[in-house]
């Protein structure tokens, strides 16, 4: 009896039973609907053909289903399908495991890098900035999220979709570069406050502490100015500035390509069209002016 229960609960049995029930059910339904598909005696030939079309379509679909069921019903196919079913929980588990591992790995990286922010900024030194944090963000984005945007697109809307993805990708990259650049701009503020923190005890020991708040502000602004000057002359700053500018330009170009698609669809001249026109106009004007000068000088 237990053996019987096990047999009836097995996937092979359940799949076979479901297929049989489904085929029987839809076969019976077809027979029931046949009178509604039948044509009335008064129907014109065209009406007849119109009504016969759904029935033909239905019959064809049922035939395909039955063929498929009979194919699946062979012991070999059934066996393969059932094996796949057995593997399903395993696959799901593997997928979840990989996903979690990836997520934890990312989180670990983020935490590690984020922990470094501000941990090694020394006064008046901008040579070894903790830009790794932003590089790590960039790497994570490029290796993980960004790749989805670079998946080749297919079909009629392929090029449009690619341009949308490109604009999103470039915007994200610009965000990272801009964040690094803004962080660099913030560093002198942090460093100047640290210097102020060191200066105040010195002034106190010398008995030179002022009662006027403005004096402290003036001192701070001078220190801040000095820090900015040091930063601005550092190669790291120039690099970050150029990268921020380059990424902004990449994004603007990608966005412009996207806008161009929209303008084309609306039959509005694009920036490129206008530039070509402007160039022609520019060359023509130049030629006319030269000729005008020649005529005047005669």
């Amino acid at each position: 009896m237990n053996q019987d229960r096990q047999d009836t609960a097995s996937p092979e049995f359940l799949l076979g039973a479901w297929m049989k029930t489904a085929t029987d059910f839809w076969g019976a339904m077809t027979k029931m609907w046949q009178p509604t598909f039948a044509t009335s005696p008064e129907a014109t030939p065209s009406q007849e053909s119109d009504k016969a079309r759904p029935q033909e379509l239905w019959d064809a679909s049922l035939n395909i289903w039955q063929t498929m069921v009979s194919a699946y019903s062979t012991p070999e196919t059934m066996d393969a399908a059932v094996k796949g079913m057995h593997a399903l929980p395993e696959i799901a588990l593997k997928m979840a495991k990989t996903g979690w591992e990836g997520y934890f790995h990312l989180q670990q990286q983020w935490l590690e890098k984020a922990g470094r922010i501000g941990s090694k900024t020394e006064a008046y030194k901008f040579e070894d900035l903790d830009k790794d944090t932003f590089r790590a963000w960039l790497e994570i984005y490029q290796k993980d999220f960004g790749q989805f945007l670079n998946i080749p697109q297919l079909g009629l809307t392929r090029s449009y979709q690619e341009r949308i993805n490109r604009a999103v990708d470039k915007f994200n990259l610009f965000q990272v570069e801009a964040a690094e650049f803004l962080y660099l701009l913030y560093l002198p503020v942090e460093k100047s406050l640290r210097v102020m923190g060191e200066k105040l005890p010195e002034l106190s020991q010398e008995g030179n502490l002022s009662e006027n708040f403005k004096d402290y502000y003036n001192m701070w602004i001078k220190i801040l100015e000095g820090h900015y000057m040091t930063l601005f002359k550092s190669p790291d700053y120039t690099r970050a500035l150029m990268k921020a500018l380059d990424s902004a330009e990449d994004f603007i170009t990608a966005r412009q390509d996207l806008i161009t698609d929209g303008l084309k669809a609306l039959h509005v001249p694009t920036e490129k069209d206008m530039d070509e026109l402007y160039k022609e106009l520019y060359l023509l004007k130049k030629k006319v002016k030269q000729l005008e000068k020649k005529v005047d000088s005669r």
Binding site: S204, E211, I221, L224, M242, L245, E249, I252, Y278, K279
Partner: protein, 395 residues
């Protein structure tokens, strides 16, 4: 370990005092800000005498008669606007020059649009500038005029004087970069690495706002924090507020720079430093500084952070002229035109220098045009433009 002591109690007492003062100040400030403010800039009356595309030439009549006879043309930079030279009554280079009896013309480059992106340095120098110089020469019936350049406009004037020495009587360059291979100014450092091709391809014209961001970044502590702290401290002072707003108006009134001009300026000047080496080509012709044989007065600021003295001072030793002079004023890039001290120095020095040169040369030219008001000889095009556009305006 000894604990340092800040006199917090005294600071707080001071802050309390300040708070009372702040209350009074706020009331006054609201009266100032909500009341009528005179913040107009460039109010000296001038006459538009020539227009070509986006360019406008304005003529200012001298206030006294004993100035130099040859008119002076001022060529401002393409970055920011020439209104800085006429910021407010009593603090105006234009007015001061007029008081010195100088017959003054000034080019207003206007606001380039997308259609101007293909205009090159050649178009500006050998096109617009040359047309303007010809117009003034014909108007005054003179073979040569005096030329004064400001910053990038000075660089244009140097190129012009090298290409057309026969049309320039005296050349004055103010805060004019000609030697770009220096690491003293931050712009010189940053522009060396900029991918200018990419920038121009992206933006078409170089956006004025983007340039403004770059200028603000030259000294954020002063330009983005301290300046506005100073404004808040003086917010109840009407005159201060008016002057501050005038300056703000000028600073953030930034036309875009035509793309091709910007590209060539950055590549040939900032990145390759061709001008001072006599290797720069404009309109297919090499700019030979040795052809600058007219007297040259080179003025710059000792504390200029945009165009440091190192970028200016080489010029006088590279030109062909034997009559050259360098004047280094103790001020910065803008201070040379707007600081009270320089206001007293700059214009009289320029006028004196021009007068001295005029007294030295044989008097072959016709008398002063402004005294006789002759009918200007114009080319057909300029005559048409003049009659079409001529109008007396107070900007």
């Amino acid at each position: 370990m000894s604990q340092f002591k800040i006199p917090v109690d005294r600071i707080l007492a001071k802050l309390a005092e300040d708070a009372e003062r702040a209350q009074t100040m706020t009331k006054k400030a609201s009266d100032v800000l909500l009341g009528p403010l005179d913040t107009d800039i460039a109010t000296t009356p001038g006459e538009v005498v020539y227009q070509e595309d986006r360019l406008t030439l304005r003529h200012y009549e001298p206030i006294v008669e004993d100035g130099p006879r040859t008119p002076l043309l001022i060529v401002y930079a393409l970055i920011n606007r020439e209104t800085m030279l006429d910021l407010q009554p009593g603090r105006s280079v234009v007015q001061n020059l007029l008081k010195e009896g100088i017959d003054l013309y000034m080019i207003e480059w206007g606001y380039p649009t997308r259609k101007d992106r293909y205009l090159t340095i050649d178009d500006h120098v050998n096109g617009y500038m040359d047309n303007v110089v010809d117009f003034i020469r014909q108007r005054h019936n003179l073979p040569k005029i005096n030329l004064m350049g400001v910053c990038m406009g000075g660089t244009f004037s140097v190129i012009y004087a090298a290409h057309h020495p026969e049309k320039v009587q005296n050349l004055i360059t103010t805060v004019t970069p000609t030697h770009f291979d220096t690491d003293k100014g931050l712009l010189h450092i940053w522009f060396k690495d900029i991918d200018v091709d990419r920038t121009v391809e992206t933006f078409g014209n170089m956006p004025g706002d983007l340039l403004n961001v770059v200028f603000l970044l030259l000294n954020p502590a002063r330009l983005m924090i301290d300046k506005y702290v100073g404004f808040l401290e003086n917010i109840d002072n009407k005159v201060f507020v008016e002057n501050f707003v005038r300056m703000e108006k000028w600073i953030f009134d930034s036309p875009d720079v035509p793309g091709e001009t910007f590209r060539q300026f950055i590549k040939d000047c900032y990145q390759k430093n061709l001008l001072i080496q006599n290797k720069m080509e404009v309109g297919g012709t090499r700019v030979d500084l040795k052809k600058i044989t007219m007297p040259l007065l080179n003025i710059y600021g000792r504390f200029d952070h945009l165009v440091p003295p190192e970028a200016c001072e080489l010029l006088t030793s590279k030109v062909g002229s034997k009559d050259t002079a360098d004047i280094c004023l103790d001020t910065g890039h803008i201070g040379i035109y707007v600081s009270s001290k320089c206001q007293k120095e700059l214009s009289p020095k320029i006028a004196r220098w021009l007068k001295e040169r005029e007294e030295m040369k044989p008097k072959t030219s016709t008398p002063k045009s402004r005294a006789k008001k002759p009918t200007p000889k114009k080319s057909k095009a300029s005559a048409k433009a003049s009659s079409r556009k001529k109008k007396k305006v107070a900007k």
